[in-house]
């Protein structure tokens, strides 16, 4: 399927916190809607309340009964309440993209057929969208170890930076 409009995104706490730490919370405005499940909202409020000041963020609760397959995978992977609720809301919005930086949450969501991306994807996408220059994003990527609580292996971050540098 070829996408032509920005997707609706459901956020887990990680990307909201990390994008704000990196001075890039505004990039969430480039999606058609940004839904923050209640449990995620509360988590961000505890750790990074100022990130929730972005006007486009919509607090939302899941409304449909929980699918049994979600409970099984969430329990098996010990997902946190916020991650669990974010996946549940994503299942209620089939065309959405889940934003999370947690590997287990990504694994769970992927197994349930949900499209998933994270902070790095949103940052790199901003160059393609013309919201940041490549130079600015490269600087932000390099600053991740000192400016954010996003934990990435150094060699992986170097590989990400190299790919962005080399992309025409």
């Amino acid at each position: 399927m070829i996408e032509s409009v920005p997707p609706l995104v459901i956020c887990d706490a990680g990307p909201v916190i990390h994008l704000d730490e990196l001075g890039c919370i505004d990039l969430l405005s480039s999606f058609s809607r940004v839904l923050i499940p209640v449990a995620v909202w509360q988590e961000v409020q505890r750790h990074r309340p100022k990130a929730l000041a972005l006007p486009c963020l919509e607090r939302i609760s899941a409304t449909k009964p929980e699918p049994p397959e979600l409970e099984a995978v969430a329990v098996a992977l010990s997902l946190h309440t916020g991650e669990w609720e974010a996946i549940r809301v994503a299942l209620e919005n089939p065309a959405s993209v889940l934003l999370t930086d947690d590997t287990a949450a990504r694994l769970a969501a992927g197994n349930l057929g949900i499209r998933v991306h994270g902070t790095i994807g949103v940052l790199v996408r901003s160059v393609r969208q013309g919201l940041r220059t490549k130079i600015a994003i490269l600087d932000i990527l390099r600053s991740i170890p000192i400016s954010s609580s996003l934990h990435l292996k150094r060699s992986l971050l170097d590989a990400v930076i190299k790919q962005v540098e080399e992309h025409q």
Binding site: G121, V122, V124
Partner: protein, 66 residues
């Protein structure tokens, strides 16, 4: 097998839940519970999987259509 000894700080609520879990008989002791919890976390957050996810993010960021 030689085992390492660690000292860790835990949130009181989490500690209370862990102790209650042990008292109910779901784990032999706190050590066993912590080892099992750590093992499960490391299994579900493997470095290889994380790298694969992040690199797919980069591809989406660079060449996606949205």
């Amino acid at each position: 097998m030689e085992k390492a000894v660690i000292q860790a700080q835990l949130p009181p609520e989490l500690m209370a839940r862990a102790l209650s879990f042990v008292e109910e008989g779901w784990a032999s002791n706190l050590d066993e519970l912590l080892v099992e919890s750590l093992r499960r976390f490391l299994e579900s957050h493997s470095s290889r999987m994380t790298e694969s996810f992040v690199m797919s993010d980069v591809q989406w960021g660079l060449t996606g259509n949205d």
